[in-house]
Amino acid sequence: MKLYEYMAKGVLAEAGVPIPRGRLCRTPEDAAAACRDLGPVAVKAQVLVGGRGKAGGIKVADTPGEAEAAARQILGMDLKGYTVETVYCEQKLSISQELYLSLTFDPGAKRPMLIASASGGMAIEEVPEKAIVKRGIPVAWGLQPYMAYQVARRLGLGGTLAREFSDLACRLYRVFVRLDAELVEINPLAVVDGHIMAADARLNVDDDAMARHGDLPKTDESTPLEAKVRALGLAFVQLDGDIAVMANGAGITMATLDVMQHYGGKPMNFLDAGGGSAAGPTAEALAILFSTRPKAVLVNIFGGITRCDEVAKAIVQVRQQQPAATDVPLVVRLVGTNEAEGHAILKAAGVDAFRSMQQAAERVVALAGESLPVQSGQ
């Protein structure tokens, strides 16, 4: 779960990380009032996607009138598909240097990693590798001040700045661990009047650890449809095509999309019904897929634990109960335990059933009228 900038900054401030003064505003009038209190401000769209600056989501205002106008422009704006509902008005900073600092994890080394650069203020993936300092952090001991100080020296910081950097990084690390964060990113980490402060902040919390952070504010970047499917505990992503797809397991779902695309089909979604999922949620998810009015639906189930006959029964039931479903061509690929029984149930209900993934994919693409000439092997 991603936190909005203002939430992340609230968390950091509590942990003793210096941040600029600022205030969350829901209306242009709020923004004007904030500017009266704070002086010249940056009016910053609160959205969960990066790159809002370039997209016009940040405007500087020197007077309450300018702040009001800026907020009026930004509030309600569409930023990369998300509507801006709040702005954060923050005192305008006179920044003498922009650094970069983040904490994330290193899958290879299986431990946290600090990433820093003296070239902040731009996306870190645009900073050349040699301008980036990386430091693995031992899980057992955590980030120690000396480690962060070494990084500060490598960035070319000295004196007060090196000490402040080290202190700030250690505070950030405590937040990173305490909140089960995947990423804490300060970009830019600004030098203002010879001191370091977090001019921006991203904080992404591990979804798998949300249960132990009930006190955190909640955000959601799902579309309503995604939220509906995810509420069933299933992984779901909306795509641009028109053939709805469901399979059980992330890898097989991706492979199913790949195969279908190979035959010219355009997937409408990624829906992983889970490797060990029961017939119940699978059926509910299928019902939702039907409600999105696809050209056709492909279900690819490898029945390991769940028996094929149970899955078949659930599929048939959904098809019968969903008014939208009867018109939509449904292709099911079903293998595994009680496979024959499953196929019999499906066929009796008029559903196309296959043992071969290849045939099922070809069939659903044909039913959606999207078949392409296929070059085998490429």
Binding site: F105, E125, V139, D206, V237, M254, F270, G304
Partner: protein, 290 residues
Amino acid sequence: MSVLVDEKTRIVVTGATGRQGSFHLGQMLEFGTRVVAGVTPGRQGQEVSGVPVYDTVETAVEKHGANAAVVFVPGTLAKDSVMECIDAGVPLVVVVSEHVPLHDAMVINAFAAERGAMIVGPNTYGLCAPSARCKIGIPPNSIFQPGPVGVVARSGTLSYELVGSLTDAGLGQTTVVGMGGDRVAGLNFIDMLKRFERDPETKVVVLIGEIGGTAEEEAAEYVKGMSKPVVAYLAGKSAPPGKRMGHAGAIIERGRGTFESKVSALTAGGAKVAQLPWEVAPLVKEALKA
């Protein structure tokens, strides 16, 4: 003797009395696996499919000499269960639990490294050595068959699909291992490639990867130096960049971990990369002939 487990592997199941744990305990027994004990705190004295249940792993190890564990407890409790297994001296811990928090996974791995234990997973289907009749985890029993192919994978059901297709083609397996779909996992591709390379019974290796992360690219470096043929299949060719596709790992970011980069790295490493799932078995057959 297989590469991770053999006939002498004696398994303790944690979370044994839960829905998943008790079902798969039975399935493992049916496969022929030597499941010697279950553990669920507060359930000592009970039995699951005739296997005795204890309150602590310590006791299970003491009484039954368990030398491998499989963890079925809920994700947020997995860290404790895995550490308990390691502390009790279990050298191989297979973590089936899904939704293990990222920081817990890092702690588990650091603790395992300190104590010299091997972690498989979390969020793995487990592993199977068909000729040793040893299956630890949740894959369906029916897909396996003894033979010369070593399989290492990230995804579960995709593994079943491909292992099933191997078996259907008469190509049995020495050992099949799932690394698990999480971003921080114990055993990785290279760990397994090394073992397969050393294992006299493994004649060809199948690597089943997917977009996201750089594990396949790193594995490709190792493949270069291998004497045994490697056949790879990668899922995610059609995935749009920047969208999470279920597995936490399957996210395309910063130009790394793309389908193309993985295919070209593995190809450069000397692996044959199958474009479609059903091309894997024929490629393995070819490799065995060569």
